[in-house]
Amino acid sequence: MKNWFKLISWVAVIMTGALLIYGIHDMPAWGDPDSPANAHVSPRYILEATEKTATPNIVSAVLADYRGYDTLGETTVIFTAAISCLFLLRRRGGKK
C-alpha cells in the first residue's frame, strides 16, 4: 500500500517535470531584453510611471497606484489569515 502510494506520486511528479521541461523550449533566453515579458507592457510603465504617479520607485508606483485595488485585496488576505490564526490558536474558554 505504502510503496504503491509512493510510486503513484513519483509517476505524477515525473510527468509534471516532463511537461515543464517540454515548455522550456519556448521560453526566452536568460536576460533577453526583447523577450515578450520585457517588450510589450512593461516599457509603458517604465516610461510613464514616474511622470504619472510622481514616485521614483516604479515597483511602489505599480503596487500602490496602478494596482491599488489588488493591494487592497492583498491586505484583506493578510487580515483574513491573521483573524483565522487568532481564532485557531485562541485558548478555549474555561479549560486551562
Binding site: I24, A37, V77, C85, L88, L89
Partner: protein, 137 residues
Amino acid sequence: MLEYILAKYNFWIYVVLMMIGLYAMMGKRNLVKKLIGMNIFQTSIILFFVSIGVKKGGATVPIIMGHGHGHGQHLIKVADYLNPLPHVLMLTAIVVSIATTGVALATLILIYKRYHTLEEDEILAIRKDPSSYKTLG
C-alpha cells in the same frame, strides 16, 4: 546536450525545485514536510517570475532618480531598468504564501493537540479506530 541545458539553466533549476516541492507535497506522510514542500513549490514560482524580469546589459533596479515634474527630464531608456511588473506580482505572491503558511502552521498545532501526532497515516488510523489513540503523558 549540456550546452542546450546551460543556455536556459535557470528554467531547469525551477523545474527541479518545483518537482522537489510537488513530491514533498504528494509523497511525504508527515504534515510538516508537506508544508515545507508547499513552500519550496511557491519559492520556485517566485524565482521563475523574478528571473523573467531580468535584462542583460547593465540594467538596474527600477528606481528612476532625478525625474521631477516636467522640468529637467532626461530621456528614460527602457533597457536601463529591470522589468518592474514581475517584482510587483511576486510581492503579492510572497504575501499570500506567508498567509497560507501561517494558517497552515496554526492548523498543524491544532491537529497535534487533537491527535498527538503529525503523521498522516497515524491520524487516519486513529480516525478509523479511535481505540488505537494513545495518549501522551
